[in-house]
């Protein structure tokens, strides 16, 4: 449930679902997000679900904070059976040329790379949110012994397809972009496809992601 609705500036509602970042809180956020989306409220410009917040930005010509807040508070929020989530398998090649930060991670986590990959590939991930850059999924949760901080100095360019870790999360760089996450491999899978008008993101909030290791050869042949 929403604990509190504040205004963010004069044209957005800031809905707080509580302090904790966990699957239960995030599932509530996603439930609200999907229910509001279904209502097609014409004054709403955008919905931004994240770990434990939902930001609803609106057209100030059509409504205002007070009126929209009332509408959101009185909405019927659909229950679980309306959440249809997919399970997506993401191939990852961990060739040394792709695993830019594996040496750093071995030191920081005090784990051998075999163990790091074993932990990573045996994990089932949950997509909390997508964004920052188009289509980038924020996936959790890594176990306690797999949590490392960001790079001290972020990279100016992280290659497209990079699979990277930081704190309790994994993500996939859908574009070449600046970034400070620890890169452990690269996926040949297209995660964001701008030619798709209806659903450009392969992975959406609430989806389950499984990573599967592939060889350099499989990687090279993947898109043929």
């Amino acid at each position: 449930m929403i604990k509190n609705i504040l205004n963010l500036g004069d044209a957005a509602l800031y809905c707080d679902f509580g302090k904790e970042v966990n699957k239960e809180t995030n599932t509530q956020v996603i439930r609200y997000f999907k229910s509001i989306q279904k209502e097609n409220i014409s004054s709403i410009n955008n919905l931004s679900p994240s770990y434990n917040k939902l930001i609803i930005s609106f057209d100030l010509k059509k409504t205002n904070f007070k009126d929209l807040k009332k509408i959101i508070e009185n909405l019927n929020i659909t229950n679980e059976d309306n959440l249809k989530n997919k399970t997506i398998e993401v191939p990852v090649c961990c060739d040394e040329n792709f695993a830019l930060d594996i040496v750093r991670l071995e030191k920081k986590l005090n784990l051998k790379r075999e163990k790091i990959y074993e932990n990573f590939f045996s994990k089932e991930f949950f997509c909390y949110m997508t964004g920052f850059i188009a289509g980038m999924p924020f996936l959790g949760d890594l176990s306690e012994n797999m949590r490392a901080k960001r790079l001290e100095t972020p990279r100016v360019k992280v290659p497209k397809g990079s699979v990277a870790l930081t704190e309790q999360f994994a993500n996939i760089y859908t574009f070449e972009s600046p970034g400070g996450w620890n890169v452990i491999g690269n996926s040949p899978l297209t995660i964001f496809d701008s030619s798709k008008e209806t659903n450009p993101n392969l992975i959406n909030p609430g989806d389950i992601v499984l990573f599967k290791e592939i060889s350099k050869k499989q990687y090279e042949n993947y898109n043929e």
Binding site: I55, G131, A134
Partner: protein
Amino acid sequence: MSKNYFQVIRAGINTTFQDEGRKNLYHVGIPFSGAMDKRNYFLSNKLVGNKINSPALEFAYQGPLLKYFGNKINIAITGEVNFKIKKKDIIIDGNCYQSLNLENGDEIDILSTNKSVYGYLAIGGQIDLEYQWSSCSTNTKAIIGANDGKKLENEQVINISQLNNQSMERKLNYINTKIENIRIIKGTNFDYFSDKGKKIFLEKEFVVSKLTDRMGMRLEGPKIENVIDTNIKSEGLIKGVIQVPADGNPIVMLSDHGTIGGYPKIGVVISADYDKLVQLSPGSKIKFKQVDLSSAENLFKLYDLETQNLISQIE
């Protein structure tokens, strides 16, 4: 039937096609985009007889040099822009906020925006552009929108698929006023900052840095001290949000901003002041003034009414 088009001789620094932007895509990771200074964008279209939300060319600092081939066409430029029209025998100093006629072989040379950042060139007719998610707005970072998601390039062509029928004689008396202060509403993390930090934010002057583009505006000045945490759990952003990272220098989110951010939000620029904010060029001084929500709503109503009045004055 002859083809009507502009040849791009010089593309300019950051010239893109923009319209009102695209909505309902933040959750995918795609920002709103669209014309930075909406009022000037709407006015440019009205001056050439287009629907006010038609695609127009937005340029920053130095604009493009274009040569026109085809039947008579109307154009208009808005903002504070120095430009020249080169006809067969003469060069005319261009005036903003009036429709101009171009003939086959004429050139339009947009030299600079004067003490501002963005200007708009509207073309009377329909530009041949691709739309993505019902908007042509080019977002060069995500490589989406018109022109294959890229800014205008030298030697490319801008095709006009349809010209507006009548030639226009439209003009507006308008001066872009400067404002002393940018008004803000307190952000959701206002209390992350020390009393001294809050005071600095609301009372001191900041300078717009060179690291400013369509994504964000970085400010320099006295450091704003954080006493709680320099990171928050990543969450959504909207344009106008002022984030303060660990270095204490505020960053204002602009139309092409990243959709998720993890720095504390000290304030949000009110909607009424956004068009003026984006026109502040690097080196400009900026001071924030706090207002409450109901004042911000009223100020927006006034601003919107003023824009509507200006649009309706153009006939």
